[in-house]
């Protein structure tokens, strides 16, 4: 479990990135922090692995204040994926994936055989293992970034806009991969994005942030969609653009879900165990 307890961050130049933020994240839960640029998402994420130390309040993992933990060891126990993949350009794909296990003292050979498996887990051809990051596409680099974060089998995975720099098709692919991996591995994930659709897709719980790390609303995607707390949330989730207002039309005996523009969004199935099918 990760707990933010009234944390705040004021950078040395006087910028207050986070005013007063509290949140509990259960083990095996995927929480998405979503908000506009500069709302303090990265700052909050980095407090978990001590890349940023809070100016006020504390962050605790399983009840233990991270301020009392050795930052280097803490970071080796937490997977971290960032936007531009952050791969080391001078290391092959394989050596990038083995980074953390090797830092933790696992033998290179053992780490490598596990790394090859991981490449498959994230949907990469192991034949790419010998390449350097610059010889991969952006999407492939992100997959390597995910594989690297998983390599030491951490309980916690921090992801800072990991799919922000790839095109929409590749992004959708990576998101599905992420869902599949989470179903298998049940990590505690803190995921940062400014894409609300991505947040709703990947988050068990979504935390919507205003500038200053102020929570505008938090809850499951369903809760947020069902009852947006205010206009900020409503506009952020697109409720007022009509893209999320769907209605049902009956066509040839089937119930079709249609969006505000009249485009078909899907077919409505009766609830499981509900009324008998026609």
């Amino acid at each position: 479990m990760i707990a933010f307890e009234n944390v705040g961050k004021t950078y040395p130049d006087g910028t207050t990135a986070v005013e007063d933020f509290s949140l509990e994240i259960a083990s095996h839960e995927a929480v998405v922090l979503v908000g506009t640029s500069g709302s303090g998402k990265t700052t909050l994420l980095r407090m978990i692995n001590r890349m940023v130390d809070p100016s006020r309040g504390r962050v605790a993992i399983d009840g233990e204040d991270v301020a009392g933990l050795d930052p280097v060891r803490l970071r080796r126990s937490i997977g971290y994926v960032m936007q531009a993949s952050g791969l080391l350009p001078h290391r092959s794909v394989l050596d990038n994936v083995t980074t953390v296990p090797v830092l933790r003292g696992t033998s290179r050979r053992e780490a490598r055989s596990r790394a090859l498996e991981l490449l498959e887990t994230v949907g990469l051809d192991p034949a790419l293992a010998r390449r350097y990051p610059s010889q991969l596409s952006g999407g492939q680099q992100q997959r390597v970034g995910v594989a690297r974060a998983l390599a030491a089998d951490p309980n916690i995975l921090l992801m800072d806009e990991p799919f922000g720099a790839v095109d929409p098709i590749v992004r959708a692919d990576l998101q599905q991969e992420m869902l599949r991996i989470q179903k298998e591995l049940h990590k505690t994930i803190v995921f940062v994005t400014h894409d609300i659709d991505e947040a709703f897709l990947l988050g068990d719980r979504v935390v919507l942030l205003r500038p200053g790390g102020v929570v505008a609303q938090q809850g499951t995607p369903q809760e947020i969609l069902a009852a947006p707390a205010d206009d900020f949330v409503r506009s952020f989730v697109g409720a007022d653009r009509g893209t999320r207002t769907l209605h049902v039309e009956e066509i040839e005996g089937r119930r079709i879900v249609v969006d505000a523009d009249g485009r078909a969004a899907g077919v409505l199935e009766p609830p499981a165990g509900g009324a008998a099918r026609a």
Binding site: R73, Y80, G86, L88, H90, V100, Q140
Partner: protein, 218 residues
């Protein structure tokens, strides 16, 4: 040509002396420049003062320096040690700004990513920052090597044996072949060192020469 053939021994010993005076300052200046450059990068205010200081060092005329140094070092004026020390100073003047620029150019995002993976600070310096600065450091090293090889010749004026002595002696005695051999060997030595550095860099930094594959898809 006959002069050359008759004096191969002399050429060989001058060449060797030249190499022995050039290599230590190149290595010393290169190795010492790294921690100094790192210090400059960590302490921002040091940068302006030290890079300016380094520039000033380079402005010290070399001949007077060669003459003054023995007073400090307690060496004789003809000692090759003077040359080594003086050229290390010049080498630092050249290499410190170049190394500090090389370190500064390493992507902050990549370094932060390395920190996030759990590299300890020194580990990160040796295993990430330094290799990534490698190509730019090599560029600096090449200039350092060539400039040092050519500066060693100045010692010839003071009578410290080196290829430089060949042109001094050649001038005084009017032997054209001797002058030319001195010049040709100096240039050849500089080119050879440069080539060795380039080849060494290829082996040490294999990732730096892989062409980017653009337009690939996930």
């Amino acid at each position: 040509m006959t002069w050359v053939l008759e004096n191969l021994d002399l050429l060989g010993s001058r060449l060797l002396a030249h190499v022995l005076q050039a290599i230590p300052p190149i290595l010393l200046a290169f190795v010492l420049s790294l921690p100094i450059a790192k210090l400059i990068a960590v302490r921002g205010w040091l940068r302006t003062s030290l890079t300016a200081g380094a520039g000033l060092l380079y402005a010290i005329p070399s001949l007077p320096l060669f003459i003054v140094l023995p007073l400090f070092l307690g060496t004789s004026i003809r000692s090759p040690l003077n040359i080594v020390v003086a050229l290390t100073i010049y080498g630092l003047a050249l290499m410190v700004p170049s190394a500090s620029e090389a370190l500064r150019a390493v992507s902050g995002d990549t370094l932060r990513a390395a920190t996030a993976q759990g590299y300890a600070p020194l580990q990160r310096f040796w295993q990430v920052e330094l290799p990534l600065a490698g190509p730019a450091l090599v560029a600096g090293l090449r200039v350092l090597a060539v400039s040092t090889v050519s500066l060693v010749t100045v010692g010839g004026v003071l009578g410290v044996p080196s290829l430089g002595m060949l042109f001094i002696d050649g001038f005084q005695r009017g032997i054209l072949e001797e002058i030319l051999s001195g010049i040709v060997l100096t240039v050849a030595l500089a080119l050879l060192l440069d080539l060795l550095i380039v080849l060494g860099a290829r082996v040490a930094l294999p990732w730096a020469r892989t062409p980017r594959r653009k337009g690939a898809r996930a």
